[in-house]
Every structure is written in structure tokens, then in C-alpha cells.
Amino acid sequence: MEKDGQKDKLIIKGIEFSSRLWVGTGKYGSLEEMAQALEASGTDVVTVSVRRVDLKRTAESLLNYIDLKKYKILPNTAGCYTVEDALRYARLGREAGLSDMVKLEVIGDEKTLFPDVIGLLQATETLAKEGFIVFPYTNDDPIMAKRLIDAGAACVMPLGAPIGSGLGIRNPYNIKIILETVAPRCAPLGCPVVVDAGVGTASDAAIAMELGCDAVLINTGIAGAKDPVAMASAMKHAVLAGRLSWGAGRISKKLYATASSPLEGMLL
């Protein structure tokens, strides 16, 4: 790993990601604000949702604010509660012609927006066979992560906490176990693990990266901040710092003090 983080590229199925911060495009005050936040985040991949075209044209088109030369488009299947719906949205998203990637969501419950992992596994298998590059949004369950990779997922995207909750990485130990569980399954490159959902502030993003995650996906944590552009910049630095810290190898935790200054040469 390069110390400046510049040559530390993330590559998934041959696609090179220059940033380890992935950003959602929902919930901003305006599309101008979104564009500024994307710029400040330094990201090169943005998630989008598939929805009916506004035939009355009351709103501006999202893609007018996203430079396709700069950003990769990652369509999601947000709002889908069944395998059938998720497949339908994924296929429509690909047909729009900007990406073979899909951030696959099969939601199990309206209140928590937790994934229906059984449906997710089925949908992952189907879409992977159809040639999609599948990024499944899953629970922080190491066994399911393993099953998803075996079903053809290109990476796993465990939640840190419920979508939009800002609760941070609620179970860092599970994320750690997920990293260890999936790594040998895609040797020699390893299986990317991207924390998706729950990141509320910069330290949350840094924790995810310090654990060894390959990237972090944030939407509400940036879009919902009082100053989304400033928060996008904060998240960018947190992800870089967390990644560097992981590569640098932290000291082990000890219960008692170890003096930093030498005891030799002290005046008696």
C-alpha cells in the first residue's frame, strides 16, 4: 500500500475505483448542492435509483448534474420488497445503458429497512448469472456474506446500522469477522467489503476503514448534514485517514500505561 493513498486503488471485477468513498445522490436540498457535495467528497461512484420518468417535467433531470466522464453510475433497487421487484428494477437500471453494476437491495421491513437476506441471496444468484456485477446490501452477518460471495456477488455491502439512522458501526466485530470470512473466498485479490448504511459522521467512516473495509457508501450522513458539502469533505478525509491507519497497523490496546519518554537519564 502506498503511503499517500494515491496508488491504493480498489478494483472490483476489473472496474477501477479511485475513491473508497461512495456517495448516494438522494435527499439533498437541491441538485446543485448534490453536485457540490459529490465534488467535495472526491468520489468517483454514485448510487442512483430507478423511477418513473416525470412526464410533467416538474423536476430537473438528475443526470444533468452528474458528469458521466467523472462518476460511475451504480443503480440501486431501493424500495423493492420482493425478489421479482428487485430483478425488475435491476434489469431496467441496466437497460438504461450506463452500468452493469447494481447495488442490490431486497428490503424485508419498512421500519428498519433491514435486508431480506433470503430474497437477497436468490436475487444475487439470478443477476450474477445474467452478467450483472452485483453489490448486495446485506446484514452484518458473516455467514450470509459468505453465501452471497458464493452466489456470485462481486462484493458484500454489510450495513453499519439501519439506513439513514446515523448510528455508526454498531457491530464492528461482525464486520471484522466478515472481512476474515470472505477474504479467502476470492483469492488472490480478496472480496471487497463495503460498509453501506448507518455512517453518521466522519469517525464512523474512519472506524469502518480502520477495520479493513475496502470502501464506505454514504448518503444520508452527507445529504442530511447541516452543511452537506462540508460533511462530504469531512467524510473524504475520514476515509483516507482510516485507510492509511489500517495500512499503518495500529498499536495493540493495553490496560496500563507505557511511558513514552525514557526513564534513563532522569535526575535522582
Partner: protein, 78 residues
């Protein structure tokens, strides 16, 4: 009426359901419908009766009375 249709087929509107709304259209193909609605074909995807119509087929894909058409694009999302 049949006589009129034969002579002036273009005067006859077709009733479709587009994005869930009933709509009278002149368009006879997906491409013509997009033009009629002023939708750019660039980053959209189209379903007719729950089957995806590939972009290359927009010009040739015929629409018929009662078809359910869905035209989607990308919006902000996480």
C-alpha cells in the same frame, strides 16, 4: 367509422397506460411515443406489458391499444 379509420388512420388515438396514467397517443412505436412525450431516449429504459424493450428496438416496437408502458430513468437515491 371503419371507413374513416381506413382513410385517416393517423386521426385515431390509441389509449395506452403510460407510467400508470391512462393516455391517448398517436404514437405507433415506442420511439414515436418517447418523441410525442418529449422524453429523450438516452438514459431511459422502457417496459411494455412488463417486458423490457431494448433501446435498439424502440423504433420498430409496435404499440397497440391497451398496452401498459413504463418509462423509467435515474433519480437521486442511496
Amino acid at each position: 367509422m371503419r371507413f374513416l379509420i381506413l382513410i385517416f388512420p393517423k386521426w385515431v388515438h390509441m389509449r395506452l397506460k403510460v407510467n400508470g396514467e391512462p393516455m391517448d397517443c398517436m404514437a405507433e412505436t415506442v420511439q414515436a411515443l418517447l418523441q410525442e412525450l418529449g422524453v429523450k431516449a438516452q438514459a431511459v429504459a422502457v417496459e411494455v406489458n412488463f417486458s423490457i424493450v431494448s433501446k435498439k428496438d424502440f423504433g420498430a416496437f409496435p404499440l397497440k391499444e391497451g398496452d401498459q408502458v413504463e418509462i423509467v430513468n435515474f433519480v437521486g437515491g442511496g
